[in-house]
């Protein structure tokens, strides 16, 4: 082990910022991170042991105890459930003789749940040793079980299993065509970099990651610094070292549009990053790629290599005396790392805990240097604007939301997949295009967005109406709102980073409270209590995760009060204590689950 760790740390030049990349390889080698490896890394990287322990426990895809040689994660997104996740998971567990949440005795297989893997249009999906396999059914599971039995490495599995389709159903401004490589950079230099920034401003481009911050303004601030920002030392933001970071964490359940951009529009993405770098004077960029998209890692590196060879990355790009390079870093399963300051912490090799702001990343980001963090789609749009100019882009969309938005459509519709629409498109049009019928409601913008009912189909996709990072999950009238909200509420409790009190404790309280109501043990007082916790978590949490974690509860309570009322017991007070439920631990300890181990038995006799 010693030589393995030594080689590994040498490969990553003993940089503690590479801790996640290093631990990923240790995990792949030993199926966990052995304590001996931790101690070796403490010396080799010169980091406190607590930092390494913290990272191992924080990220879902690392483990301090051995996982199976085939380590399987089943996507537990609501979209997978709608495609039959439960039955598929049961069959998989049965075929592989491995109950969910366990490691098989011979150490060959382990199976666990994971948050959305971004294959909502082709689920139910699993990750096997990090590789995505979609469209699971009995036949495919039989095939997988056989491959595992024969101990065939995942990389040698047939492409029919590992193939992930783009699934573009409707293209527009960005998806219609490919840019000629380097064309946007060339055009920007010809026009002048300052003028190009002006074009981005004229385009009215706003961030596509959800928050919708004006992109040109973000770039401007990163270069100039806040003049009036008393909080940040002026010498800090006048430093020449700046970073460009692409947020490819795409963790919002139901979102998969960045997957397509990374797979088939990586040149445009990197061109956009390069454009940004030339404007803000940065020489280093990063793509923070979610661990679930491991299948895109080598592809992206190939594109980077190709661009280096073409003189579009590296030293003296296109002879303009401008240096810039891009490195891909992988995440390891943590939704919070999509939040920009948590992402930066993660890039630095730490737990993904959001920072205090101010200072914002534009003045103090990666390694406390000025940093632009933008979504994949934002960079792709910027590349197009770099070539075609601002007016071309601003001619589409609405007054406050220019251009187009790429949506990831999943759930109950005939044609799930990727749809690009000008901002201002109505829900009605979208539902017609994707063939959705008998619709109950739609989760727009993912769990952290808004659940709209079938009375709201005239609303529009736009920052001023329904803002969205791209997730669009359709539910027909056969679906149970409670199961949907419950899935989302569990998701947030699972993904809370735990830094601040309201989100750490509050999301778990909401989860338990919601379960109580779902299982028919709730009373009027319980709904009031749920609402109170939800409001507190929303108003006092540290970052966007906690601030939006109560959205599914609040938006459905507002729209379907009668459904909630129907769920309640017809008494005004229900003890918070479920007598039979509380015996679960005793049942587990004694290994019993027969009818005599349940309380209902007493009543029946």
């Amino acid at each position: 082990m010693e030589s393995f760790i030594k080689q590994l740390t040498e490969k990553y030049q003993h940089q503690s910022t590479q801790l996640l990349m290093i631990l990923r390889e240790v995990q792949a080698q030993y199926f966990h991170v052995p304590s001996q490896a931790i101690d070796l890394l403490v010396t080799q990287l010169d980091v406190p042991k607590t930092q390494i322990l913290g990272v191992i426990e924080f990220y879902s895809f690392l483990s301090a105890t051995p996982r199976g040689r085939y380590d399987i994660y089943i996507s537990d997104s609501i979209t997978d459930h709608m495609l039959g996740k439960k039955a598929v998971a049961d069959y998989l567990c049965e075929k592989l003789h491995t109950p969910l949440g366990t490691v098989r005795a011979d150490g060959l297989v382990s199976i666990a749940n994971s948050s959305c893997t971004g294959l909502c249009d082709q689920g139910p999906a699993i990750l096997v040793n990090g590789h995505a396999v979609g469209r699971l059914n009995k036949a495919r599971i039989d095939e997988i079980a056989a491959l595992i039995q024969q101990k065939t490495p995942v990389t040698e599995w047939p492409t029919s299993l590992l193939q992930v389709d783009d699934n573009v159903q409707k293209s527009g401004l960005l998806l219609d065509s490919h840019l000629e490589k380097g064309a946007a950079i060339e055009a920007a230099w010809q026009r002048g970099l300052e003028q190009t920034l002006h074009e981005v401003e004229k385009a009215g481009l706003r961030g596509r990651g959800g928050a919708g911050y004006t992109t040109a303004w973000k770039w401007h601030l990163c270069y100039e610094g806040y003049e009036e920002d008393s909080f940040c030392d002026i010498s800090v933001h006048k430093q020449p070292q700046r970073y460009v970071v692409c947020n490819a964490d795409e963790g919002e359940p139901g979102t998969f549009k960045d997957r397509i951009l990374l797979n088939s529009y990586a040149h445009e993405l990197i061109e956009g990053m390069t454009l940004c770098a030339s404007i803000i004077k940065s020489n280093q960029g990063f793509i923070y790629l979610r661990g679930e998209y491991l299948h895109l890692y080598s592809k992206l590196n190939a594109v980077i290599a190709e661009r280096r060879a073409a003189g579009l990355l590296g030293a003296n790009i296109l002879g303009k005396n401008f240096d810039f390079d891009v490195e891909v870093r992988l995440g390891l399963g943590a939704y919070i790392c999509g939040e920009e300051s948590a992402l930066i912490e993660s890039l630095e090799g730490k737990m993904g805990v959001p920072r205090n702001r101010p200072p914002y990343p534009v003045t103090s980001g990666y390694l406390n240097k000025p940093t632009v963090v933008n979504n994949v789609e934002t960079f792709v749009a910027a590349a197009h604007i770099g070539l075609h100019g601002g007016d071309w882009f601003a001619a589409h969309g609405t007054e406050k939301s220019k251009g187009t938005k790429i949506l990831s459509i999943s759930g109950d519709c005939a044609r799930p997949g990727i749809y690009e629409y000008p901002f201002g498109t109505t829900i009605k049009t979208i539902l017609e295009d994707c063939g959705a019928e008998d619709v109950l409601g739609i989760q727009v913008g993912g769990p952290s967005g808004t659940f709209i009912s079938n009375k709201e189909f005239d609303r529009k996709i736009a920052f001023e109406d329904l803002a969205t990072g791209g997730s669009f999950i359709i539910f027909n009238s056969s679906r149970d709102i409670f199961e949907i909200v419950r899935n989302f509420t569990h998701f947030f409790a699972h993904e809370s980073c735990g830094f601040c009190t309201p989100c750490r404790v509050g999301t778990s309280l909401m989860k338990n409270q919601y379960d109580k109501i779902c299982t028919g043990h709730g009373s009027t007082g319980d709904v009031r209590e749920l609402q109170e916790i939800a409001k507190l978590v929303k108003s006092t949490s540290h970052c966007g995760l906690g601030q939006t974690a109560a959205q599914p509860i609040l938006t459905t309570l507002e729209r379907y009060p009668e459904l909630y009322n129907a769920k309640l017991k017809q008494i005004s007070f229900e003890p918070g204590f479920d007598l039979d439920g509380s015996l679960a631990i005793a049942r587990k300890l004694t290994g019993r689950d027969d009818s005599n181990a349940h309380l209902a038995q007493v009543e029946e006799e």
């Binding site: 913290g54 426990e57 737990m351 205090n356 735990g498 830094f499 601040c500 009190t501 309201p502 404790v505």
Partner: protein, 236 residues
Amino acid sequence: MTGTKHITIDGQTVPFEEGQTIMEAAAAAGVYIPHLCHHPEFTPHGSCKLCTVKVNGRSASSCTFPAAEGQEVLNNSDELNADRKRLTQMLFVEGNHFCPSCEKSGNCQLQAVGYHLNMLDNHYPHFFALRDVDASHPDVLVDRNRCIFCSLCVRASHQEGKDVFGIVGRGINKHLAVNSESGKLADSDLSVDDRAAHICPTGAILVRGTAFKVPIGQRLYDHHDIDEVSLGASHE
């Protein structure tokens, strides 16, 4: 410069210096804002959220939020204190706090904030989390049942160049870890003279042999509300 700058807190004019947080400006002016993870001598952490105030109508953590000219801050309102009480109750049910049998009782800031906010019960169902006690060290005891993740011990030890403590893990499963090969405090660099051994606002880190020097009933918060104590010189 155009003279001193001001904010208002609950209508009271409070001066501040460039670079001060709202909490710092308030403390300097003798205005108490409830807090647990804040300590004037350490970089603010911003995690407990007890210090949440409204700044021009929007929620902000006063321990991290910079004061700026003209801000109208709402602090001592019924609504904010009700939220603070709920947050304190969350901290109580998350861990295992049996005040009557705790060595820190009467000197504990968590308990004192509870008193201050008129917290009469725990309100939420308990989590009954399984947490470890580390009694390996000859002079210092760690009882994780009482840890509220304020990170003061982490910050203090980091400042001392020792990094004895760290908060590790995610979400509700977070816990306090010790930096040593065995994970035990005895094998760490901690010495009883370290600031980190004395900084804990609750009874999670205790110096042995000192707990009952002052009898229960005669301790700090048995006789003073935390709002007086906090603004005085002695903070720990």
